[in-house]
Amino acid sequence: MRTAVMTRPIERKEADETDLAVQLARGQERAFDEVVALYRDRVARLAHRLMGWRGDVDDVVQDVFLAVFRKAKSFRKDASLWTWLTVITVNCCRTRHRRQALRTRLAAVLPWQARESDAADHGAIRDEAAMQVRDAVATLPPRDREVVVLFYFEHKSAAEIGALVGSSRNAVEVRLHRARAALRTVLEPMLRDER
């Protein structure tokens, strides 16, 4: 069931979060520690999904909180902390994708370059069907995957996703439509069983 598996927001009162955001914007060290403690697993989870459930997300999580540490003073209090962290996580994952793409291109040119193994996580996977679904999402173009992750796992609307990734609502809907079509094609037998 959707509600059983979705990532629940950390239970904090809105006032508490605003207070924490204000302290963070003032550059208070303890506020930063608290933000890291509160959101590190959630950021890791989101990054893991955005990276197609592959690889180690520790570096991405570090990059996210490094950006938070540096840009804390520029945080606009009109958005929630999690929304801000989501934007940073999406951007860090994009950077990571670009680096990976570059590395892949380099590996094709320079045969001695080590190829990254995607199989690292697969050892832990027991559920074949779940693996197929994750692989189908992971093989989507990164921008389409972003939209799928934010829509299905973060439960954001197309307009909200547009604001997060810097696209128009229409562009997000087009991406979502394209990604759904691609997923339906690949996962057709499973979807038939679902029905």
């Binding site: 069931m1 959707r2 059983a4 598996v5 979705m6 930063f32 520690d33 890291v36 403690a37 590190r40 697993d41 950021v43 890791a44 989870r45 893991h48 999904r49 459930w53 180690d56 997300v57 520790d58 999580v61 570090q62 909180f65 490094l66 540490f69 540096r70 996580d121 832990a124 996977i125 027991r126 559920d127 069907a129 779940a130 693996m131 679904v133 994750r134 999402v137 799928v148 299905y152 796992f153 759904r180 997923l183 339906r184 996962l187 499973m190 979807l191 679902e194 029905r195």
Partner: protein, 184 residues
């Protein structure tokens, strides 16, 4: 209508164990931020030293060329050229020592960083490196003075000129004012 992809994706995600970020992320992030700041400061200072050095060299070269134009072969002109070359040489050494002091400072900062000791304020660190470089030049001047070498006067003057508002510059100025230094 319920989207059939919704449940399928939710189950696939739930089947994958959630990654746990390491617990010392805050510490690691602070260390990375400090390292980047230190590197930026060191790069800026080295660039500034390089630019100052180039400007000084260009100025001296112009002066030498002007002297050459005035009187190419007179013994006085040769003496002036030799003095200026010595000055250039001593300034180059000063900048070299400043850069070495900064590099040492950076290495110390990195070591402090590794031990997670809070480093001092970056601006303060630059002042410290500057004072240290000034002290090195002053010590050189004192050594030359003790050997009755006339170059000591140049070094005292350089300390005052290149590192104003440092303890070493004040000491050098006092030494020059005392009139005890052999004049070049």
């Amino acid at each position: 209508m319920k989207d059939p992809l919704d449940d399928l994706l939710a189950r696939a995600d739930a089947a994958m164990p959630a990654p746990h970020a390491s617990t010392d992320i805050a510490k690691v992030v602070r260390r990375r931020a400090r390292r980047t700041t230190n590197l930026r400061i060191a790069a800026a200072v080295l660039l500034a030293v390089g630019v100052v050095s180039m400007v000084l060299r260009a100025t001296h070269r112009n002066q030498i060329l002007a002297h050459q134009g005035e009187n190419k072969n007179s013994p006085a002109s040769i003496a002036i050229l030799q003095t200026e070359l010595r000055e250039l040489d001593s300034e180059a050494r000063i900048h070299e020592k400043t850069a070495a002091a900064l590099a040492r400072q950076l290495a110390l900062a990195k070591r402090a960083d590794a031990l997670l000791v809070d480093p001092p304020d970056p601006l303060e660190r630059v002042h410290e490196a500057r004072s240290r470089a000034a002290s090195i030049v002053l010590r050189d001047a004192e050594r030359l003075e003790s050997l009755n070498r006339p170059e000591a006067q140049n070094l005292y003057q350089n300390t005052v000129r290149l590192f104003p508002e440092t303890q070493a510059a004040r000491a050098a100025q006092e030494r020059l004012n005392s009139g005890g230094v052999i004049k070049t």
